[in-house]
């Protein structure tokens, strides 16, 4: 794909990707590949993330102190780097989720005002 499209996709997903990673790790530490699969699976394949973009995001999160990395072995006895939430990351996840909900709600209200009014 062309560079421009690529860039657009990445820009859209950077902030949200961080959020998704944090959420995925809520269930417990995982390695990179597992995280990627989890996101795909849990979004029912709607979100097709370019898997490579995961790694810069992971390192960003490490730099901010929201996750930490550890060496470990995976299910089939292969070495892998496991990423897990830090307490700070947990707090950040709650914060970001809240922000996201507010945002989504606001957009929804604008897009479908009649429905909501009907509801209330």
């Amino acid at each position: 794909m062309s560079t421009k499209e690529q860039r657009e996709r990445i820009e859209l997903l950077q902030g949200t990707l961080d959020l998704l990673i944090l959420r995925t790790l809520l269930r417990g530490p995982a390695h990179g590949h597992a995280i990627a699969k989890a996101i795909e699976f849990n979004s029912e394949d709607v979100l097709q993330v370019e898997q490579g973009s995961l790694y810069p995001a992971l390192h960003r999160l490490i730099k901010r102190g929201w996750i930490s990395a550890e060496e470990g072995t995976s299910e089939n006895n292969r070495r892998a780097k496991f990423y897990g939430l830090t307490p700070k990351g947990r707090r950040q996840l709650a914060l970001e989720t809240h922000k996201w909900d507010k945002l989504a709600g606001a957009i929804a209200r604008i897009l479908r005002p009649s429905e909501l009014e009907g509801e209330s």
């Binding site: 370019e50 898997q51 490579g52 790694y55 810069p56 892998a80 780097k81």
Partner: protein
């Protein structure tokens, strides 16, 4: 770095693991191993990019990248040495020229005062709505002052000594100092007598300035009392040159104007005077001013207590507890008090002066005197009191370091016969110096900006030169940009590969910009060397023109270095932009496939006329045109000035100044000395004739007199230029007589007695020029006409006025540019004089003989300002010569750069289109056609550039008008000549590539990639 490396290795492993897992998953989904891997890798994305982005998260990545870029850039430059050398040289010339001129601007205009913490120093400036009623004002051009007759809101920075004492008493400064020019000093006791310049300073001067002595000690408060011994401090440079820099100079006695002074110390090397451009040889305490002027007309006894004689410049250092506005309020209040409630001291009505006015004023007591120095005349009224103090300022425009001559106006500025009171009137009713509605006040201005000194003299040409070198830098940038464009075309493949490998475009652009900045940094470093050499050359040219050292020192200091770095950076970015962006926009696929990007050949090239490279060359030619036109105008100005008819024969004339009053000659002694000397000189072998005058012609010194012309209303004054001359003046200078006769011995006697306190009944004979006759006499016979008579009244005896006894042809007086005004020549009596000798051969050759003759009369009489009249005229024209020379140099530089740019472009085109040329020739085209094709492009570019340049020049040259003489800013002749020159040189530049195109062998060309 090591941690990063480890991290990258880990990341590498992680990524591999990730892809392996995905591959495994794909295999489980049913793909073949190869398909699985391929899908996994596609899903992952660009591995390199991922790695880079991850690295970016962590580092000062930009720093690493910068280092990478620099190394890469260096490698690429080394690979193409030809390009690198040309680019660096071009940039060095452009940046170097700018640095050179800037360092001059720094030395002259920006340098801080050579004292301790100059920001704390403030200068006292007075201002009022009308000029104060004072009888004497002296200024040495330290600050910009405006004391013109009748000008409203005059201001200045000279004050009376009582005011200074009050300022000190007010104690609002941590230190207050006053200083004034000591005038011409005859120094003896150290070899043959010489004339030097000195400055009188108050006791606290050196302490307030925070200066240290190089050896010995400096003047302090104890030395500045009448009881203290006469001491003096030497200038470091003067100490080196006149005393050999020997330490035993401390304690030695020398004589200044026949008064013994003890040398107590030498100032530090960097201090030559507080005002920019000033260079004094010695400093003396204020209290000793009286001693060295015993024979002068300065009335030193009165000066120290005289509130009405303003001659001191006052500087204070701000006290920590008292901010400047507060101090200003106090000082201004003090000043106002003095102005409104103090009283004017009396004239010594009727008493003769201690000596004659040095300037030798015109006859006629009712006359007013004006002194002019290279600017508007400053006038002052005299009244009829004999309290005249005038000083002829021989040579040197006002704020010039050469001589630092004082400008003395005497008489109450603003007093007119009809308007203000005569000084002696105040004998009966003391008036105050100013009135409330005139609002006299003092402002404290920062000394750094307030003391302008010689700065104003040089600022105009410096700014013009700065503009010229700025344009040259632009040309250099355009030149190198063109080179880089050509080079980037050759590097297209490299760029394409890098982009294909995943480098972001921003990264590529950044790397190319780094290369450009590196080039300009290298150019800048070389440029500093060129600048250093160039600025020194300019400064030594300038100082070789002044009779005294320049008082400005040139250094490469922080400001200059900072400037160089800044413009190197800007230059690099400027010329790197276009090529960098062009490279990054490369279309990948076609470039990777073909060998070189085949952009349009000449056939399709017509559509791409306005390509960047062409535009760059046109811009260069246009800019070069602007600089050349400017240079042309300045050169023509110089020519015109040189060809001005000065009205006398200026070849083979030797002039020198001599001042016997400095060693005690008084009154009639002075006149007889001059006459005697003149006689002896006239008989010296090699001298055809000799004479003297109050000041030399064409030396910027000027005197103007006003008088009453009969038939005009009583209170209306007429004016004319005025020059006192000795016997044989017109014959020596070859100014022809049109009517009447020259001065004879009795004329001088009459003039001398009229100047005294008992004027004779005979009018002073004067000789006038044609302009005078035209203006005042008209059609009548001028011979025998009387004017300037005043009747006897309470203020003094009757004055018989002047009588015209001859008319001479018009001649220039003080400068070449000033038109000839009505002028009268009077028989000189007393005062300082300049001798003019017409020699048979080279004037310099008989100089030793002349010195001999003078020494025979008195060994203690040094000659000063010795020069030939031609040299004097050259000095007058010095600024024009400097600017013309530099402008021409820069104009040629611009021309060369532009033509190199043109040549480069055409060479590149020819090389690039070799294949096309080969095809044309193989298909039957003639060599001549190819030649014409190349030439056409080159000439077309040059012509378009010349036209564009002419347009710009038409708009811009008018800013030069103040510097031009007798040539219009939009002079068509100059423009056409320059345009022709440009096109001719451009033609030559095109010729070589064109011939190369002609010689292309079709067979070779067709096989050319």
């Amino acid at each position: 770095m090591r941690r990063d490396k480890r991290m990258m290795e880990e990341l590498d492993a992680d990524i591999r693991e990730h892809i392996a897992r995905e591959t495994q998953d794909n295999i489980e989904r049913g793909m073949s191993p190869e398909e699985a891997r391929y899908a996994a890798m596609r899903k992952f994305g660009n591995v390199t990019r991922v790695k880079e982005e991850t690295r970016e998260v962590w580092s000062f990545l930009w720093l690493e990248q910068l280092w990478q870029d620099i190394r890469y850039g260096l490698r690429m430059l080394v690979k193409s040495p030809g390009f690198a050398v040309v680019a660096i040289l071009t940039l060095a010339l452009g940046i170097g020229a700018n640095t050179a001129i800037f360092s001059l601007i720094d030395a002259v205009l920006l340098r801080s005062l050579p004292v301790e913490k100059p920001a704390q120093l403030v200068l006292l400036k007075w201002s009022a709505r009308k000029p104060p009623i004072i009888h004497g004002y002296q200024s040495a051009g330290d600050c910009a002052s405006d004391l013109r007759f009748g000008a409203s809101n005059p201001s200045g920075c000279s004050f009376s000594e009582p005011i200074f004492r009050k300022v000190v008493q007010a104690n609002v400064f941590s230190g207050a100092a006053a200083f004034a020019n000591a005038g011409r000093l005859n120094l003896s006791g150290n070899g043959p007598a010489t004339i030097i310049n000195g400055q009188l300073v108050s006791g606290d001067f050196f302490r307030t300035m925070g200066l240290k002595a190089a050896i010995g000690r400096l003047i302090d408060a104890n030395d500045d009392t009448p009881a203290a011994g006469a001491v003096t401090v030497l200038n470091f440079g003067y100490w080196q040159s006149a005393f050999g820099g020997s330490r035993d100079v401390i304690g030695r006695t020398i004589e200044l104007n026949s008064v013994a002074f003890t040398i107590i110390g030498v100032t530090e090397q960097r201090f030559t005077g507080i005002s920019p451009g000033s260079d004094y040889d010695v400093w003396l305490p204020l209290a000793d001013g009286q001693r060295i002027n015993t024979s002068g007309p300065f009335r030193w006894n009165d000066r120290q207590a005289d509130v009405s004689y303003w001659w001191l410049t006052i500087i204070g250092r701000v006290k920590p507890g008292i901010p400047a506005p507060q101090a200003q309020a106090v000082i201004s209040g003090l000043f106002r008090n003095e102005m409104l409630h103090g009283s004017v001291p009396l004239f010594h009505g009727g008493e003769p002066m201690g000596g004659p006015p040095r300037g030798g004023g015109p006859a006629g007591g009712g006359a007013r005197q004006e002194m002019v120095f290279g600017g508007a005349p400053m006038r002052f009224g005299l009244g009829k009191s004999p309290g005249r103090e005038q000083q002829g300022a021989t040579g040197g425009p006002m704020p010039q370091s050469a001589g630092n001559k004082p400008i003395i106006l005497s008489g109450p500025p603003g007093a007119t016969p009809a308007g203000g009171p005569h000084p002696t009137e105040r004998a009966t009713e003391p008036k105050t110096l100013s009135s409330a509605e005139d609002n006299p006040e003092i402002t404290l201005v920062p000394a750094q900006s307030g003391l302008s000194g010689s700065r104003t003299r040089y600022s105009d040409p410096l700014y013009v030169l700065m503009l010229a070198v700025g344009i040259i830098l632009l040309i250099a940038c355009a030149n190198v940009a063109g080179l880089m464009l050509a080079r980037s075309a050759a590097r297209q493949k490299e760029m394409a590969v890098r982009l294909a490998l995943g480098a972001g475009r921003a990264r590529v652009v950044r790397q190319l910009l780094t290369e450009s900045v590196m080039l300009s940094a290298l150019g800048g470093s070389l440029g500093i060397l060129l600048a250093y050499w160039g600025a020194h050359a300019i400064l030594s040219f300038v100082s070789s023109n002044q009779p005294r050292p320049l008082g400005f020192a040139m250094d490469i200091d922080f400001r200059v270095l900072g400037f160089t770095i800044a413009i190197s950076l800007i230059t690099g970015i400027l010329f790197g932009m276009a090529p960098a962006f062009r490279s990054a926009r490369v279309d990948l696929t076609p470039t990777l496939k073909e060998g070189e990007g085949i952009s349009a050949g000449w056939a399709r090239g017509a559509g791409k006329w306005v390509s960047t490279s062409n535009a760059l060359v046109v811009a260069q030619v246009a800019l070069a045109m602007v600089v050349l036109v400017g240079a042309g105008l300045l050169v023509r100005t110089l020519q015109n000035l040189r060809n001005v008819d000065v009205g006398f024969d200026s070849h083979n004339i030797l002039i020198f100044g001599i001042d016997p009053t400095l060693i005690g000659y008084k009154g009639a002694q002075v006149d007889s000395f001059y006459r005697d000397l003149q006689g002896r000189l006239a008989e010296t072998p090699g001298v055809k004739s000799a004479s003297y005058s109050m000041m030399p012609l064409l030396s910027n010194g000027l005197m103007v007199t006003s008088f009453h012309w009969p038939g005009t209303p009583q209170d209306q004054d007429s004016e004319a230029d005025d020059l006192g001359v000795g016997p044989n003046f017109f014959e020596t200078l070859h100014i022809p007589f049109l009517m009447g006769r020259s001065f004879n011995a009795s004329d001088f006697e009459v003039a001398a007695s009229n100047r005294g306190d008992q004027p004779s009944s005979a009018p002073t004979p004067v000789i006038v020029n044609q302009a005078f006759v035209e203006k005042y006499v008209g059609k009548e016979n001028p011979l025998g006409k009387h004017f300037g008579e005043t009747a006897a009244d309470a203020n003094g005896p009757a004055n018989p006025g002047c009588e015209i006894i001859g008319v001479v042809r018009d001649a220039k007086y003080n400068s070449l540019r000033r038109e000839i005004h009505a002028m009268m020549y009077t028989p000189q009596s007393m005062g300082g004089a300049t001798f003019e000798l017409r020699t048979a051969a080279d004037p310099q050759a008989i100089l030793p003989a002349i010195r001999e003759v003078v020494a025979q009369v008195n060994t203690n009489l040094p000659l000063f300002n010795v020069a030939t009249e031609s040299e004097q005229i050259d000095r007058l024209l010095f600024q024009e010569r400097l600017v013309a020379r530099l402008a021409s140099f820069f104009g040629l530089l611009a021309l060369v750069l532009a033509c190199v740019g043109l040549y480069g472009l055409l060479s590149y085109e020819v090389a690039r289109r070799t294949r096309e040329i080969g095809i044309r020739m193989a298909l039957g085209g003639r060599a001549k056609d190819v030649l014409r094709l190349v030439l056409n492009q080159g000439i077309a570019l040059a012509v378009v550039g010349a036209v564009a340049g002419t347009g710009v020049a038409l708009g811009v040259m008018r800013y030069l008008s103040s510097m031009l003489y007798d040539v219009h800013a939009n002079d068509p002749l100059t423009m056409i000549a320059v345009a022709l020159l440009l096109i001719l040189v451009a033609f030559a530049a095109c010729f070589i590539p064109a011939r190369r195109a002609m010689r292309v062998d079709p067979m070779v060309a067709l096989r050319h990639e």
